[in-house]
Subunit: 110 residues, 2 copies
Amino acid sequence: MPKSKSHLFKKNEVHLADLLKALSHPARIAILSTLSKRTECVCGEVVNVIPLAQATVSQHLKALKSKGLIKGEFEGQKSCYCLDWDNIEELSSLLQDFVTTLKNNQQRCC
Amino acid sequence: MPKSKSHLFKKNEVHLADLLKALSHPARIAILSTLSKRTECVCGEVVNVIPLAQATVSQHLKALKSKGLIKGEFEGQKSCYCLDWDNIEELSSLLQDFVTTLKNNQQRCC
DNA sequence: GTTTATTATCGTAATAATACGATAAAAAAC
DNA sequence: GTTTTTTATCGTATTATTACGATAATAAAC
């Protein structure tokens, strides 16, 4: 019976939560790290580094892609996943802004 | 059969993922916002603002507490939840550092 | 003391996420 | 063309998360 309640929250809250969720698994963090170090970011290289089955890595890649943190392209012969800087920066600055807003609101409490 | 594989990842990756997960739900983001605006942060006030049942809000509060993003105290008569700035700042700067590291690694790719 | 209001926990149901083997699809190598 | 390599998707099992009603525990009000 518990359906998703996300429509009950503010759009920007849902958006931030959604982006943070994309990074809320060590595998996906490790994937971003790995991709940042590769000139040719073939998925296979990622699979070799991440200690999970190929299908699972592909699944995590898909999740990152759907949230816009990486983008896949086919440069000539090899499929290529790359960091999508626009959205990575957006995530980073949204969190920063959020924390800053918290600070500005802050009343003396406990 | 799929047990948790988090031990296969680096400690700092697991730690960052864990903190981000704590904020990966709109309710928990809304709770932090709410708490930041209150002088007396009684849980009841939070329950009135968050569009979820009291038991669910309490559950989210517990999650935030266990990750150290808020701390609960009993000031005299009322139970009091407050933002835990140390860990909120830690989360913020860990993500920043992570993004900065990605940037520094960045090879020309696609 | 008793009653009322507040918060936490329990039990449980539904949903989502994680993980992987098997297999399909696509491209590269031959 | 065929074979091999690479990646995506399907099906499915397991685990984790989300959600809430009911109830217990705690504190305040009386």
